[in-house]
């Protein structure tokens, strides 16, 4: 197995005048879980489609499992598995038929296919439903079957494109457990895209934040948060957050201030020691404060810092999944 599972250099893809992925450099270690975090339309899926040989890059290079995605697409396909958005399965086949077909297309013998199905059944817990047509499955079952189909040929690198979008919280948690198990027990490198901060934080060893097709920041979740200092004071104000930002940014020990809509995030080394100073400064500037909280930095703060916007879509998507 090569040292790096994914290597890209200046990887770029445009559709006419629209640049979806704009010169991304990536190094993903073999055996790690790498999270590609970004909002809808940031370029995550386009990047994954290039890395999985479904789409040609406009320019730049990409090597996956040691092979060039442009020049050696078949070699790449033999070594990767992918579960793309929305569990792409044939509803008219049974789970078992779908997995057998998957095995045949990867050149597995009947015995190897049966063995892999046996191994994967215990891994993803589909149970007797494997003999039913996929059209009768719940969203969570489809996701787990999709995962199993992606793993039939024992890939070195597994791409998961928003594996929990649209799932209820329980199904999401099960998928997380399965992703961890696949990585831990089978040693599969996992390249995960997500728009959920919580998911990236919980699963990924390293995270790349992508926005407008560019890699805005990269590192372990802890390191990314650490970059912001030890504490964050968040003030939700009535009115102009920019005015609030100006009021607090000159306070001693304040490292940085980000303003977004009606919220100001103030990063300080010792939040408890300065929260009163922040309150006082806002009061002196006649800014009405609705609430003032002190917490450690989250990935959302990192996201705000590097992109200038929030990535708070989890709740909305959860509500949508529940409907």
């Amino acid at each position: 197995m090569p040292e790096y599972a994914v290597v890209t250099e200046k990887l770029r893809r445009s559709f006419g005048d629209v640049v979806a992925v704009d010169g991304i450099d990536l190094l993903v270690d073999a055996g790690e879980i790498y999270g590609f975090l970004g909002p809808n339309g940031a370029g995550k899926s386009t990047a994954v489609r290039m890395l999985t040989t479904l789409l040609m890059p406009t320019s730049g290079t990409a090597f996956v499992a040691g092979h060039d995605v442009v020049r050696e697409p078949v070699e790449v396909r033999l070594r990767i598995g992918a579960a793309l958005q929305d569990a792409a399965l044939d509803p008219k086949q049974t789970g078992l038929e779908l997995l057998r077909l998957q095995g045949r297309l990867y050149g597995l013998s009947g015995r190897d296919t049966a063995m892999r199905i046996g191994e994967l059944e215990s891994l993803i817990e589909i149970g007797d439903a494997i003999k039913r047509q996929v059209g009768t499955y719940s969203g969570g079952m489809k996701r787990r079957l999709d995962l199993a189909a992606s793993l039939m040929h024992n890939p070195e690198v597994l791409f998961l494109d928003e594996p929990t979008t649209g799932l209820d919280p329980i199904s999401r948690s099960r998928v997380w457990d399965e992703v961890r198990r696949i990585n831990r027990e089978l040693g599969v490198t996992i390249f995960l895209t997500t728009q959920y901060l919580e998911e990236a934080d919980a699963l990924a060893e390293r995270i790349g934040i992508i926005t407008h097709g560019k890699l805005a920041a990269e590192g372990t979740p802890a390191a990314l948060k650490r970059q912001l200092g030890s504490d964050v004071i968040v003030a939700r104000v009535d009115g102009d957050a920019q005015q609030a930002k100006r009021a607090v940014e000159n306070i001693e020990a304040v490292e940085a201030v980000d303003a977004y809509e009606e919220e100001v995030s103030i990063r300080v080394a010792n939040g408890a020691g300065y929260i009163s100073a922040v309150a006082l400064a806002l009061n002196e500037a006649s800014i009405r404060v609705r609430d003032l909280t002190l917490r450690t930095p989250t990935l959302d703060d990192v996201f705000l810092h590097v992109t200038g916007g929030r990535l708070q879509q989890d709740e909305a998507v959860d509500e949508e999944a529940e409907r």
Partner: protein, 273 residues
Amino acid sequence: MRAARDTAQGTQPRSAVKARRAGFIRDVISLGGRALRSIPRDPESIIPALVVPMFFFAVNVGALQDVAERMPGLDYKAFQLPVAILFAVTGVTRANVLVLDIQGGYFDRLALTPVNRYAMLLGFMVADLVLVMALSIPVIALGLIVGVRFETGLLGIIAFLGIAGIWALAYNGLPYAVALKTGNPAAVNSSFLLFLPVTFLTTVFVPEEALTGWMSQVVKFNPVTYLLQGMRSLVSEGWVVEDLLAAFAGIGSVALLSVPLAMWSLLGRVRRR
């Protein structure tokens, strides 16, 4: 950057199973098998193909037999049997499944495998061939039951079936091209409109010599005219090489358009541009 990790840190050893290319033939068989399995699970797409030809056979014979058989030497049931087969096989296609694969993302899942790209279309066409053969058998049986006799015997029936199958594949290139090019189920359904001129602007009701006016000219340019002529010769006349060659030429002229179109659309879909 960290070095590659020891993947044996977990509790389960990495499986020894290793992927490889299955090969073109196995890919076609695998995908053909999948397309065939989908047929009985999709009965609404087969029932019309079974009912329509029998309906037309019964109506055409019932309405026109007496009038048509005033022409000397014309056995109208034998004349109508190839028409019934034409209706049974023309446009019977799994292109609707292909387009749903594209829309639902399963086409991409297949494209992620090392499967031969041509097999992604040929698998469907293998299933089409099996299906049209299966649909033709009850129609031929109906013909035999009502008294149609093949001058060419059992071998002629097999040739008759074979020509019908090849025709179906040649024609089906068109709906597959539409499916692959557009990825749109409505566009695939609209391709049914091709069926009307192809199957009706020909010698569908009476022989060519009985046609008059513009119709007598138009049928000369419809490849189906020659297809029907070849199939009718197997039923009523025997092994007439000239008629069979004309039938193959008719099929070939359609295939010359449909096959490159389908392949061009397939490659366009998988080219990754």
